[in-house]
């Protein structure tokens, strides 16, 4: 029982600023394990990956220790305080307190990777210059131990001027209780003294600060001296005042001479790091662990490249082969459920809403959950094991020939899951031109929302024949993925050759060691993905299914029911037994089709049909495609609903209904050229509002999303037109 319990205030009544006692920034090198630790401490599920640059935005979470609430800010990784790429800018801006809408952090939780002290200490040393309360979490101590690195923590603490250091293993939670307490006490911590690694720099900073208008922190003066009067340092420059500003260039000149400041700074600081390492690190990391061996093998030109394609082929094969049994189960389940609803409720608007609208619409999307999870599982494994970074390295040369760099590979592979995080991952690309070209290529990558469309059409229209070790269906899917890659790359090339001409992109990438993926991490991320997918199915897709059902069901025609009755009566005179039952069914199907055609959806579909007729699409396909513009997987739900109401309803599964669908004159709608065209359309068309929004945000202009939409839609249309016209000729 605490005394405080009586005066507890509901959380929503506490002013936001007071909800936490302190704001602490989580800072460290890229891929040092910041997000893993952050998730452990706050319980938030951040994306985790074993390549540098997974976190490209800041994330805020709360850490509760006793009665204190500490706000933790997970930042993108950075190697130094002079930012190089957009994500590093975000980290540095938050650290210096110049990020809009965020106050200066009250303290810094440094994440120091025990297996990479070399780059880690380079950053820590600069962070100490900030004179903020600071605690070091020495993470990955398990990995360090395994590879034979011994670290003398007491000596390291001394070398860093007495900063508290807590050895932890973020993946298992070892050492976290002590760290938690230390973080809670951080605000009262007195910052340690600066470490003077470079006396001349200290002297120059002091000289500059003499005539400053407002007091500047040492770290701020340092930035001015090393990075110069660049845009990011505007605020510090203003504090300096007019007089001192004139002096800045002179001081810099005498400090650096003709040498590039960043180069000289790096040389001197790393010399200090090496000195510290010699004292605190018992045994140098062995150059050859099994991980390095694997890396070396994979990086051999031939096995590496073959391996890359093999890995991708296995993924696509798995997406098809492993998921099928579960999908068949869901499909059958939905059909049984729909039928029993109709039986229990009888015919009528309500029963049709439940069976044809909701079960058929939502069910036809949910069925793809197994495939999507398998796909995500592979991407998470590739990411977490460190393979993605290898892929970037392997592909750099190929990417260079199209005006991109290997760094563009990671956003592009992420886009196979979803273009939104993929586009956000482009922030690690330092050059703006390269970044935009990659952003334009990303939506061409086959995302998990395209997968259901492909899967449906392929399962229905491509025979499941065995070709070599692969299934023909898997092969076609692989081809579609390849098509997306090629289209994306050609687009990037086109853009780099026209609108964004410029010097060829640079490439420098840290290659993490292979790690055994952390099962818990993989599972948590997979679960998160499943939730997002089901949430969408339950909200967006559900709503669309209901709306589409209503549009397809209403208005009810007055003249159809009497006509059906009349025809059935006539049939009863001439036929009997099974023949009569079949005739009854036929008449009902024709009636259902007629009802559908004069529904709102039918009328709208007929209205747009001329535009899509050259592609071989009837009004049903056209209206489904149009409904899918905000989110492409909606098309499946619409087809599911439309075909549940229409005359193919008794075909059972959706793919069966598609196969049975005909033009009024009896020709099949879904011919091979038409299906190929439809697949091409889906491979190209940018039917995703979320992607457009993220392009707008990431490029900070309307020009690029508008261009992307027009460009991709036209290519899709032309591709489908060509496929159908040539194929049917």
């Amino acid at each position: 029982m605490t005394k405080r319990s009586e005066i507890r205030i509901p959380a929503n009544e506490i002013p936001f600023a007071k909800r936490s006692d302190a704001s602490i920034a989580v800072v460290g090198n890229p891929n040092s394990g910041k997000s893993t630790l952050f998730n452990r401490l706050t319980g938030l599920k951040q994306r985790i990956g074993n390549y540098p640059g997974v976190t490209v935005e800041r994330h805020i979470g709360l850490l509760k220790v006793d009665d204190k609430v500490i706000e933790l800010v997970d930042l993108p990784g950075t190697h130094s305080l002079s930012a190089h790429s957009l994500e590093e800018h975000i980290a540095v801006d938050v650290i210096f307190g110049r990020m809009q809408g965020m106050q200066k952090p009250d303290g810094i939780l440094v994440v120091l990777d025990a297996t990479n002290l070399y780059q880690g200490l380079f950053l820590v040393q600069q962070l100490i210059d900030l004179k903020l309360p600071m605690v070091v979490a020495l993470t990955m101590t398990d990995a360090a131990e395994r590879s034979g690195v011994g670290i003398d923590i007491e000596r390291l603490r001394q070398a860093l001027g007495g900063v508290p250091i807590y050895p932890i293993v973020a993946t298992t939670g070892a050492g976290l209780p002590q760290l938690r307490l230390a973080i809670a006490d951080m605000p009262s911590l007195v910052p340690t003294e600066r470490i003077v690694v470079w006396p001349e720099l200290t002297e120059a900073a002091r000289e500059l600060s003499h005539d400053a208008r407002e007091p500047l922190r040492f770290a701020e003066l340092e930035r001015l001296l090393i990075d110069g009067p660049i845009d990011a340092n505007r605020e510090f420059l203003e504090k300096l005042g007019g007089n001192a500003r004139g002096k800045l260039e002179a001081v810099r000149d005498s400090l650096f001479g003709i040498e590039p400041p960043i180069a000289k700074d790096a040389r001197i600081r790393y010399a200090w790091v090496r000195k510290v390492l010699a004292e605190v690190q018992h045994s140098a990391p062995p150059f050859y662990s099994w991980r390095v061996q694997i890396a070396a093998f994979i990086n051999r030109p031939v096995p590496g490249t073959i391996g890359l394609f093999l890995v991708m082929a296995i993924v696509f094969q798995a997406v098809f082969a492993w998921a099928t049994p579960i999908m068949d189960l869901i499909d059958a389940g939905a059909a049984v459920l729909g039928a029993s609803v109709t039986q229990a409720l009888g015919e009528g608007a309500f029963s049709s809403l439940i069976a044809d609208g909701i079960i058929a619409g939502v069910g036809s999307v949910v069925i793809f959950l197994p495939q999507i999870l398998i796909l995500f599982l592979f991407i998470i494994l590739l990411e977490d094991s460190g393979y993605l970074a290898r892929a970037a390295y392997l592909m750099d040369r190929a990417m260079r020939s199209v005006g991109l760099s290997g760094q563009s590979i990671i956003p592009m592979i992420s886009s196979f899951a979803c273009a939104v995080p993929g586009i956000m991952a482009t922030r690690v690309i330092p050059n703006r031109r390269d970044r935009i070209a990659t952003i334009m290529a990303a939506p061409f990558m086959t995302c998990s929302a395209r997968l259901p469309v492909y899967a449906l059409l392929i399962a229905a229209f491509v025979p499941a024949r065995q070709v070599g070790f692969m299934n023909l269906q898997g092969l076609v899917l692989f081809g579609l993925y390849l098509f997306g890659i090629v289209a994306g790359i050609l687009t990037a090339l086109l853009i780099r050759k026209t609108a964004l001409r410029g010097p060829k992109p640079s490439f420098a990438l840290m290659l993490p060691e292979f790690r055994r993926p952390n099962l818990q991490t993989v599972f948590i991320q997979l679960l998160g993905r499943a939730k997002v997918f089901l949430y969408r199915a339950g909200t967006v897709i559900f709503t669309v299914a209901v709306i589409v059902w209503a549009l397809a069901y209403f208005p009810r025609s007055e003249s159809i029911a009497p006509a059906v009755e009349r025809q059935q009566t006539i049939a009863a005179y001439t036929l009997s037994g099974e023949e009569l039952a079949a005739e009854y069914q036929r008449i009902e199907n024709v009636a259902a089709a007629a009802q559908m055609e004069q529904s709102w959806l039918g009328r709208a579909g007929h209205f747009v049909e001329p535009a899509f007729a050259p592609l071989g699409w009837d009004w049903r396909v056209s209206s489904a495609v149009i409904a899918g513009f905000p989110a492409r997987e909606v098309v499946i739900a619409v087809l599911g609903t439309v075909y549940a109401v229409g005359d193919e309803a008794n075909e059972g599964t959706l793919s069966g209904r598609l196969k049975a669908s005909t033009w009024p004159d009896g020709r099949k709608v879904f011919t091979l050229p038409m299906v190929i065209g439809l697949l091409i359309f889906y491979a190209c068309c940018l039917q995703c509002a979320a992607t457009l929004a993220v392009i707008r945000r990431e490029t900070n202009s309307w020009r690029w999303p508008v261009f992307a939409w027009l460009y991709m839609t036209s290519i899709g249309y032309l591709g489908a037109l060509l496929a159908f016209q040539l194929g049917s000729a």
Binding site: H84, I262, A263, Y393, F507, A508
Partner: protein, 83 residues
């Protein structure tokens, strides 16, 4: 100290060298220095991709990949095997 025109680009796979001089005019090279490729650092050429480009170097246990066009700005003196 013998340098003899050896650069990171001329190190063979498995060979180690100590960086002796960096021609840092190119901002990309400066970036690599921030990553730790500076004078005094010992590096090993770990692997290269198709056509020998880009190259991967090991440096105090971490891997850095860079292109040959930049590797040639880092002059090295070889370290004898078994060091």
């Amino acid at each position: 100290m013998e340098i003899n025109g050896n650069t990171l680009a001329t190190l063979k796979r498995g060979e180690k060298g100590i960086i002796r001089f960096v021609d840092a005019a190119d901002p990309q090279v400066q970036r690599l220095m921030v990553l730790g490729l500076v004078e005094g650092a010992e590096v090993e050429h770990a692997s290269s991709a198709i056509g020998g480009d880009p190259m991967e170097f090991r440096l105090f246990g971490c891997g850095i990949s860079l292109r040959q066009e930049h590797a040639k700005y880092f002059k090295v003196s070889p370290v004898a095997a078994g060091d």
